[in-house]
């Protein structure tokens, strides 16, 4: 078990290294002269040279990579071209907002998704199943920015129950987290349903019924617990979806998090900021998937045996 944990954890290191090279190469991928592009069309030659200096583009590539990695180790991700403040400062200001939003979205969508999935699965081909699965396929297909704007239009503008924008207090999290979590809840519901249907076919379920257990006990104790092992892995993958989705949702609600910061930075061609944000998003994604994998191994006795 310990060996599996160690092996899986060490396997992440090369991925993280390659990701860092990718992100480092990012500014260098810009066609033509990156400094010129970053400076924008109206910049003077002097501005361009300044930017070349700031981004360290006047050195050789390996040297630049060395500087970049050394900086990262010290927690230095460069300076924002827009605010002239350290990138880490800007990110620190908004980091917790995005964490709060993603965690709240994940929580409700896991609970709702699992419940819908269980009720659909155990009532296969009945009205509960059709209702649940219609909801789920709609949740997967709905554009989150549209859902967000419609929620704003009804609950914030017309009914005035929630604020339209911002991140003050719990109330301001309600509409954004509904928007962000909808598709995740839908995917989890579909996955839970098929997992439940698979498990219902197992011999031990027949045994449980044969020995006279009440149906509720069979479903919640035997079917539910066993199907959750598979659902855990999907939740991990969905986290990446939430991180990506946060970009769109935060922009819709003008929510001051990392996602809306990314969009602002792209529009401002603030490359050090874009670079660092992409690195942070992917590091989180990789680490969360690692945690989920380990959790999965911990939950599933079959993997422990190997």
């Amino acid at each position: 078990m310990f060996r599996y944990f160690l092996k899986r954890t060490l396997a992440v290191i090369p991925t993280i290294l390659i990701v860092s090279v990718f992100v480092f190469m990012f500014v260098r991928f810009i066609p033509g002269d990156p400094a010129r592009r970053v400076a924008g069309p109206d910049a003077t030659l002097e501005d361009v040279e300044n930017i070349r200096e700031t981004l360290g583009l006047n050195k050789s590539i390996p040297e630049q990579y060395k500087d970049y990695m050394l900086g990262l180790m010290k927690g230095d991700m460069g300076t924002s071209l827009k605010t002239q403040r350290p990138v880490t400062y800007e990110i620190g200001q908004r980091y917790m907002n995005t964490v709060r939003l993603t965690v709240v979205s994940l929580l409700w969508s896991v609970i709702a998704g699992v419940l819908i999935g269980v009720f659909s699965g155990k009532n296969r081909s009945k009205w509960q199943d059709y209702t649940g699965m219609t909801l789920a396929v709609s949740g997967i297909s709905v554009p989150s920015f549209w859902l967000g704007l419609m929620l704003i239009s009804v609950f914030a503008v017309n009914l005035k129950w929630f604020p339209t924008v911002g991140s003050e207090g719990l109330k301001s999290l309600v509409l954004p987290s509904i928007t962000l979590g909808a598709s995740v809840a839908a995917i989890i519901a579909r996955f839970t349903r098929s997992s439940i249907i698979e498990i219902l076919k197992e011999d031990y379920i027949r045994t449980a019924r044969a020995k006279g257990l009440r149906e509720n006990k069979v479903v919640w104790k035997h079917v539910f617990r066993n199907s959750m092992i598979a659902v855990v892995t999907v939740v991990g993958l969905q986290f990446g979806f939430l991180l990506g989705g946060s970009v769109v949702t935060e922009s819709v609600f003008a929510f001051p998090g990392l996602g809306s910061l990314l969009i602002d930075s792209v529009n401002f061609r603030d490359y050090p900021m874009i670079q660092s944000l992409i690195l942070i998003f992917s590091l989180h994604f990789v680490v969360i998937n690692l945690v989920i994998d380990l959790l999965y191994a911990g939950l599933n006795p079959e993997i422990q045996m190997q």
């Binding site: 997967i140 554009p143 769109v248 922009s251 992917s282």
Partner: protein
Amino acid sequence: MNNENLLNEKHEKDLNYKRDMRSPFSEFVGKFKKQKTAIAASVFILTLIILSLIGNKVVPYDYSEYDYANVLQGPSGDHFFGTDEFGRDIFSRIIIGTKISLFVGLLSVTIGAVAGTALGLISGYYGGFLDSIIMRISDVLFAFPGVILAIGIIAILGPGIGNVIIAVAIFSTPSFARIVRSTTLELKESVFVKAAKNLGASDARILFKHILPGAMSNIIVYYTMTIGSSILTASSLSFLGMGAQAPSPEWGLMLSTGRAYIGLNWHMTFFPGLAIFLTVLSFNLLGDGLRDALDPKLTE
């Protein structure tokens, strides 16, 4: 005499075989016909395709014509979905916009599918060094949450619908590569592939005649499902200002313009969003139907 008997026997076997086993295709058609929602979805998609071809002949108004006497009108008999801030007819704009969304969705996923399939075949069939390289790169691409990768690519290439297609194609490639690779690994060990190899068939022949057809059903299902999500991603990017630019009647862009008028003119965001929703929904329902009809495990 003996030979004739053998031939007769073989002929009889063939006849029995035909009676017992319907061709995989007719079996698929039989199963697919039972999927009512998937059929409805295909009809809707077909309508969209027709509209994208002849849209400019059926729309009631010119999609780009300004009409300052009729700005920001709600839905009515004259303007089914109302008008926008320049008095342009939203219904006509949505119909004309069909072309853009379908084109972006289909083209980006097709590029991703072709590239991913080729890489997956190579990776699974030849294995070794090439396999590790391809899989490492796909691991790295998987380390970026989808939309973030697309935004990164747009940040490098600059905004525009063409770059959106490239971005979506790049991030759908590794999934196809993985799916095709795993099927290739499985089929490579099958008896018919080994037999073909022993008969001296070339690698290309084995890959395209024996392995690719086996992987096809997985590819088709995944392809259909990815079209839906690609249309979503592409319209999100346009919504964020990274894809289509004004005055294009792209649905995501129309929504983003309508945002400023959300309080009183809900129709400006409602209808383009509904168009995206129904289009994506149809592709997802079609994908579900194809999956159920093509999956041999799901026999009743």
